[in-house]
Amino acid sequence: MTRPDFEEVLSVLYPDPDGGDRGVASTTEAMDRRTFLRISSVAGGGLLIAVSLPGCKSGQGDDKTAGNKDKNDKNTPTPVESEPLPTEPFEANAFVEIKPDNSATITVAKSEMGQGVRTTLAMIIAEELDLDWSKVVPQTAPTNPKKYGRQTTGGSASVRTGWKPLREAGARARAMLVAAAAQKLQVDAKSLKTDNGHVIHADSGRKLTYGSLTEIAAEQSVPETVVLKDAKEFKLLGKEHIGIDAADIVQGKATYGIDIRMPNMLFASIERTPVFGGKVKSFKADAAFTVAGVKKVVEVPATGPMANVHSGVAVIAETTWAAMQGRAKLDIQWDQGPHAKESSAGYRTAMERFVGGKGKELVNRLGNPDKVLAKAKGVVRARYDVPFIAHSTMEPMNCTAEVKGDRCLIRGPIQTPDLAPGPVGKALGIPPENVEVQISLLGGGFGRRLNLDYVVEAALVAKHVDVPVQVVWTREDDMTHDFYRPMAMHAIEASLDKDGYPEAWRHRMTTPAIRATIDPNAKDHGVSESNGASDMLYRVPNRSCEYTYLPSGVTRGWWRAVHTTHTTFAVESFIDELAEKAGKDPYEYRMHLIDELTVDRPKPNKEFPWDPARLKGVLKLAAEKAGWGKTMPKGRAMGIACGIDHLSYAAVVIELSTASGKPLIHRVVCAADCGPVLNPNGGRAQLEGGLVQGLSAALKEKITIVGGRVQQNNFDSYSILRINEAPTVIETHFANTDAHPTGLGEPSVPPTAPALANAIYRATGKRPRSLPIDLAIL
């Protein structure tokens, strides 16, 4: 629920190699520079507007930087005064070029993985600039660590951090175009208006295109302050827009990482250790060379915990297919390593023990829940658990690398291009500034591509040849060498007061923490891992959250919505159980109990304090739209749940019936509050996608470990929700509050599983407490 913790983790793990401005310390300084803008003319008569956006690492959700921001920023009803202009240094990552023919190109150096970030960020700048949207051409960002600044895309931070700088840049550029027109027309700038790529002098009826003003505009000085539009004046924002890349996608013209083609390039397929932490002992490659097209076979060394490249053997060939065929003929002897005896069953036994007693870390406490529970009669107890799950982006991991002497070019579907040069440089033994990274479209991310294993690995393969190499993972590779959403177990106990409301609540949980995968020395995992549990907003006078870390050799990572995929499942299922015990309606029960957080929030965020009114707002909206409380035929029921994730609020109501032992979902209703909705069509798409992915995890997905290795390897053994299983009615609604805009990629995921489980309970009297839901219990 708090700011995405990977921002912090990544900044710790991938500090700027020169100690330059990527480190945590200088983040604060970067925040002070606020908006960055440069406007210049370009050859051929265009006007180039370059903007530097803070990346998610400089996260405005970060408590370290919270003090730098004006509280009023949160409320966006404008007009507002912009910030003063920044000083050097300058790293641009968004560009607008206005051409003499009045068309404009917009380049946003953010990784697009289906969340619509390029569309939304382009809309924000075009709005303040009053561009003609029909003449805006999007460009894929050519990534260059020197020219572009922070580009890491994740944690729903792009809109949150880009909102203000982009608007200010647009407004400043617009003011310069107006000044240029005033000069040309010899009128007062105040008498001019802009619309759709034109400056208009209403009094004389004269109208100039932006394209005709570019040269004079470039000579104007950049205004110190500008007034931003009032939300009521928006022409693009808040309106329906389709994805900026959609037209290319439907024609098969969009370029993903796996589609990158370079002259003379080769392809590689890698046999990696099947056991986590295993290593190549020896190998024989002779048979691989019998496959036509196989060029070279090389060993890939494990890098250890940071990039987490697995030990393996790569076959380099003229085509992907030849590489795969050659790889199948390798004869490899493995050293199984220290984790070969680990299994899901073993983890489970340990987890049951951990949550059965006092946790190793006390995350937070209010009052004295132990004492109240010890005395209470009729304590309600429940235990919930979830398995490891895989990201399974539809585009399997892949990356293209070219190593020439002490230089390296990386091209691929990368979520963290600005973080790649460090680990790549380290693996190759070259200076990070010699590593150039270019991003393509991403065939899905969901957090998987925040890890750089597949990028560093490609560089380690490419250094053996003097041409570019594309390492393509098979689906089996992708599924067995993911960074999995951790297994988790939660045991919650509560006692109720005479009115049926909780007076004590003790939550004990355990996970193999995500952060330990990239930083084995990290401590206090409970602070992050309990996000969604230790900071839940139900009012309980005596409450505590305890956490115990479970060591595991399995690599873990951030999976869409991260910790709340399990904490919210536990909390929102348990609150339903309490409502049931109290004989109260689960919706009313929640509305009565949602309140200001009075226990210490483990990761306080002064800039985005939890707002109980917003949580109640989405709950109420979802309940109203779903018709909560209406009478339904026997066997048909609704379940409800809510939560906060990545600073956005969401509630979900699921209506289902259970005919023939299977839940048949009739309708899914979701309400979300992310502040103003900038692109409603794209926003709805994100909520819909989160609901479907949430249902998929709740109903189908499970990775199990036996002998230190993953048992599932393709979509037959690891199934994902298909169209015939997906709900045919999905309704999404926005609260449209005036809070600072936050993301929509994640908040609909966490409430989905508990809303489903709660609906199943109300329809059948049987309560699912494990995911994926075992339909045999129905």
């Binding site: 439907v250 085509t319 539809m394 585009e395 065939g443 899905g444 992915q693």
Partner: protein, 155 residues
């Protein structure tokens, strides 16, 4: 040497007969619109039309399609104006977009056979095409819209 027609153009290809059509298209012919998702006929990302029928190119050895006519996403329509493509844009279906070439090829084949598919017809024809971004709700709407467009309907 295998001869086949791809998007109306004849190709002579000197490749191993076991190489699946998918990799011939992507790595030899240079048509990357057809995607690799699973390699086992489980996800539908690699769907192309073989003499008009949808097939999973990841499990079709090139030797088995010699002499046939293949249509890929790049050849579905000259200007990207096939009713399915138009409907896909109207409904703003793609998220990451990676699965969409396969979805569109399956949907186009369905509508070729059935001008007015019901929900269960759609389930049957499309359940082999996975979408991790969860665009199913819009795919269903877009197929119905494409059917309307195909019948000459407007909105």
């Amino acid at each position: 040497m295998y001869e086949l027609t791809i998007n109306g153009k004849k190709h002579k290809l000197d490749v191993d007969g076991t190489m699946p059509l998918l990799w011939v298209l992507r790595d030899v012919v240079g048509l990357t619109g057809t995607k690799f998702g699973c390699g086992k006929s489980l996800c539908g990302a690699c769907t192309v039309h073989l003499d008009g029928t949808p097939v999973r190119s990841c499990i079709a050895p090139i030797s088995s399609v010699a002499g046939k006519s293949i249509t890929t996403i790049e050849g579905l329509s000259p200007n990207g104006d096939h009713p399915v493509q138009k409907a896909w844009l109207e409904e703003n279906v793609p998220q990451c977009g990676y699965c969409q070439a396969g979805q569109i090829m399956s949907a186009a084949a369905l509508l070729e056979q059935n001008k007015n598919p019901s929900d269960s017809d759609i389930d049957l024809a499309m359940s082999g095409n996975m979408c991790r971004c969860g665009t199913y709700y819009r795919i269903r709407k877009a197929i119905k819209r494409a059917a309307e467009l195909g019948r000459g309907g407007t909105r």
